[in-house]
């Protein structure tokens, strides 16, 4: 079910194309992401979703049991993509610096291209999952574990300090990325509007995070 995080802008649906089977279900999920990102899960109404998807109210309940299931489905079908991408980077070659830059870029770029997706994954699901199914708890844990595994590997290869607490380090790195995104969502920080500048901004931010994470922020003496 998992689909990759976007690495390029999604082409808009072509209205002239014949509608394939199950397309409505996807429309609902996409619309839900947009609406959840805009209003938050709790304030989002089913009617908002059906309007956004341009389908009938009741059809939502043809595909999903209730509102919670929509959020859970988004999580299941999207989060897996993030996990897969992360693990692919971990298995790939390159120094830990390259891997970390790839990961930070992956996440920040996903946010750049599909801020809705990331807002929902980061803000809504993370916050809602306090009471959610163990499946979700486990999925978040998996991401942590996958990332910790990458750090442990680098540590064994001597690329990271032997005395590093991998668990804390993972929180540090992921927390940094998370808060950068949160700052952008909340408007505490602002990214450039213009495309090239925006791209450069995110790349630079990724670099900065990795650089501080690896070299530290302390002065020379």
């Amino acid at each position: 079910m998992a689909r990759p995080l976007p690495v390029a802008p999604q082409p808009k649906d072509d209205d002239s194309a014949p509608k394939p089977k199950g397309e409505k279900r996807d429309r609902i999920l996409e619309a839900a992401i947009v609406v959840f990102a805009r209003k938050g899960f709790h304030k989002a109404r089913i009617s908002d979703i059906s309007a956004e998807a341009e389908i009938a109210y009741g059809l939502v309940y043809h595909y999903f049991k209730n509102k919670d299931e929509i959020l859970a489905t988004i999580f299941e079908e999207r989060w897996g993509g993030l996990l897969d991408a992360l693990q692919a980077i971990g298995r790939g070659p390159g120094t830990v610096r390259n891997q970390l830059v790839s990961i930070a870029t992956l996440i920040l770029n996903a946010f750049r291209l599909r801020p809705d997706w990331v807002k929902v994954l980061v803000l809504e699901i993370q916050r809602s999952s306090r009471f959610a199914e163990p499946a979700q708890q486990k999925a978040v844990g998996s991401l942590f574990s996958a990332f910790e595994a990458i750090l442990s590997g680098a540590q064994e290869r001597g690329e990271l300090r032997k005395d590093l607490d991998v668990r804390v380090a993972a929180s540090l790195f992921l927390g940094a990325v998370d808060l950068v995104i949160t700052s952008l969502v909340l408007g505490v920080t602002e990214a450039p509007e213009e495309d090239a500048a925006q791209r450069a901004f995110y790349l630079d931010t990724a670099d900065q995070i990795v650089d501080i994470f690896l070299r530290g922020s302390a002065g020379p003496e």
Copy 2:
């Protein structure tokens, strides 16, 4: 209005004592924190709060205009304490390492002693503030700025690298603390139950964060 974050366990209310004026208002705020932390702001009902505070339903509306105002009040009266404490640490003496350890310890300790407070400040307000009053947005920004000022000061004193992007560094540090707390809230990480061990765990975590932040995680070569 701001009151300091707790640095010691709160004494339990003594039922035999005569109730001072305005005590009910505090009971409501305390109860609201507990309930918001337990169920989240949106799922929390006024009746939950009044039941938790053991006061009459309608009394909540004597002290607060509506539900939003309760959250805003919690934010205003508690967040300010965090900001004050942060600035006091910034103004104080000591190396940046000491200051950062103090800050991390301050936040983690607050969470240790009053997890409800921190859950609400970190999870609920952050999330709600997307749509909230500019006052709240500004308050979050102030915290960021205050922290950035501490980093800038250290940078000027040569304690931090000249080429450090202070904005990113602030996100990194605060994000790390935030995610550590989030992990604990979500149960991804678990702190020891026993008191002394728990205290040590939080102190150690604070140290780790600061150490990675300052020295980096990279190996020696």
Copy 3:
């Protein structure tokens, strides 16, 4: 909680009197009986009940958890009255003929005075109770048992045939009363409009039922 079945017309509420506590709850139950009798349980809307009771929609949910609980409450608070009256008659003096006439009259008279109550007790609850709580099943069973006990007592006193199957006899008698009422509800049979005639009609019907039940319908030879 049980209140007696009416043996005389209910005095109308006096609007000038001050409203006692809990009056609204009774208004809701009364209104529910009227509406259930008119439209049937399933077709009755909460808004019908609140309109009939002239109270606000939401107040219904202040007193009752949901629609089912309203029906169950009617049953519990009214059925007990029938059972009590039945047992009182059983304990009382008189021949079995007198007792049976009293019982038939009790039920038919209740229907004459408060057809709504009886419609709901006989039609709605009986029909709904198929899936209802054991409490209701048991209550219906109690009525049967109480009536069978009356018949058994008479049998022991030699007033009824020794070879009579009391269980079947009970069904016969109660079924007769039940079907008479059902016929009236469904309009298959019609009672006189005029009061004295109506009263006579019900008394006569009660007599007929008892007479056939005791003497049989067969001719003399």
Copy 4:
């Protein structure tokens, strides 16, 4: 359209047989009876019926205009059979005792063999018909009339008392049968599980009803 009430167990559908025309319509009616008996008319969903019949959702609407029409059709096609059988017994020879035993056995046996049918005829239709088409009201009335005619005939032949109120007597007899069935449906009474014993139980019950109806329940003096 009317088909006889079952006097013998229905053979199960043979899956290997080629489906004859119109078989689907019957499947829907059968399924509807099963579902109405299980959940009641109002709680039964069209999807329950289509699932029970193992046919497509929408096909129900090829054969029936709406849900009400399904119930009405069941009534029309099944009730007529009861009426026909009743009239046949009335026209037939035999003493009134034999006729009444035949009638009671007919109904109880129908319930024994196809409890679903009888539950729906007795409980659902009776209940719904309050608001239903005059056709249904009339049909119920016809059954009453047919039965009253049988009693009147016997009365004229001197087999029943001249002073018998035929209308009340009819209610008594039919009410008895009805309540026996209702008791069984509601679980107030229980019939034996084993086939021969069960058959004997129903025959005996029919005999008892008729015996009390004709000879009365009073003792000898």
